[in-house]
Structure formats: C-alpha cells, structure tokens
Amino acid sequence: MINITHEPLDAEALTSQVLSETNGAVVTFLGVTRRFTRGREVLHLEYEAYRPMADSKLAEIAGEMRERWSVEDIAIAHRLGRLEVGEVSLVVAVASPHRREAFAACQYCVDRVKQTVPIWKKEFFEDGEVWVGSQDDEVALEAAHSSVRPG
C-alpha cells in the first residue's frame, strides 16, 4: 500500500495492514521531523511532492523490495504539507516470514525513498528557510564546514 497524504500518518494502522499469518516479523520505520539540523533550530517544515510521479516511484521501490527479498506485505506512507517538529513524515512497514529480510528491506526502502522519490523538504528557521538539498543548502553547508575547519 502506497499513500502520499496531507493527513497525519497513523503508524499503527499501517503496521497492522502488513500483518498476516505467514509473516513472523514486522519492521516499521518512522521518519520524524527533528528540532535541530546542523546546529540550527527548526521551527517547522514543509514537504512538497511531484505527483503522481512520487506515487509511482514509491510503488517502484516496493517492487524492488519484493524482487530482492521475500517480502510481500509492504506499506509506505509519506506526509506532505506543513509539519511541526516531532511529527511523522514517513512510515515504512515491512512484513516477512523472518526478521532479517524485514529489517533489510525496510532499510533499503528508506534509503531509496530519499534517493529517487520527487518529494522535497523545506526547513523553516527563526532567521530564514531552506530547501534541503538545494544549491542554497549546499552553500550553507560548505560555509558551515569551512568555518569549523582549522586554519
């Protein structure tokens, strides 16, 4: 099940979707918006998606997981719009007969979501805002690195 939504994510409901008698292990990952990023305090965040491309990229990832591991039951949900600190932005629930595969497939999914799915995150600070991964962000990152470099 793939779901991209502006509504709050219900991790428990998504987890129960993948439960079945053949599965002995369920791994659920929650991506949670955090207060501090690179030493700056985040006030809130916004997520934006290119749809339906984002939906089909998530479905593609679920397909890759099924090809690589014996996992059948997968739920992936991504939140959009404004999120407060501490809210859940991503839920991945994976079930498999044995735990090893569920862990591996879940980790693969989270990594992959951050690589190929056209969803963007904007962080809002007291003194500005930045699209994570954008050129502005890279410039800020370089500045932060060079300021801690000795000499």
């Binding site: 290119y50 990229k57 951050k114 690589q115 190929t116 056209p118 963007w120 991964g133 954008s134």
Partner: protein, 98 residues
C-alpha cells in the same frame, strides 16, 4: 515545463513555457534553462529532467506532448552524490548486494 520546490521559488513560477527547436533533447532544455536562469544551477549538466514522470538522461529526445519537469535534488541530498545524475533511474541494473 513544471518546476518544483527550490526551482519553483527561484524562477517564481510553477510552470514555464519554453520554445525549443525541432529535435530538442532534455539536455538542450537544461542548457536553455541554465541560460535563462543562471542562478538555478552552476552546471546545466547537473539538472535532472523528468519526461512524462520518468527520469531521463540528457540525450533523451523531447516531443510536443511530453510533460517535462525539472527535478531539484530531493531531501536526502543531491542526485549526483548517489551516482544518479544524469542517467535515468534503472533499479534493475543497480541490483547490488542486498
């Protein structure tokens, strides 16, 4: 063409009309975008283009009816650092160790 996130804000529009010559490719579109909006990127070769909602390399030929979008780096970091740029996304060829 469609613009999202940082690109949309830089350009100030979510959609942009571009006149491209016959035989235009994703790469020639990227070059044109970089010429018109130089502060969008330092290198047009790094612009990621989606055609009809699929990542395409810069050699990909464009047609009139195509839905074209410029894809800024996603929230995990830059496409380049994952070796995804500018090649199309081909998961089947990327099957490494599980």
């Amino acid at each position: 063409m469609r613009l999202f996130a940082s690109y949309r804000e830089r350009v100030g529009q979510a959609e942009l009309a571009l006149d491209l010559p016959e035989g235009a490719t994703a790469g020639s579109l990227a070059t044109e975008i970089a010429r018109r909006f130089p502060d969008l990127t330092r290198d047009p070769g790094k612009l990621v283009v989606a055609v009809n909602q699929e990542y395409r390399d810069h050699g990909y030929g464009l047609s009139d009816e195509d839905e074209v979008a410029l894809i800024p780096p996603v929230s995990g970091g830059s496409f380049e650092s994952w070796g995804l740029r500018p090649a199309p996304h081909q998961p089947k060829n990327r099957r490494g160790q599980p």
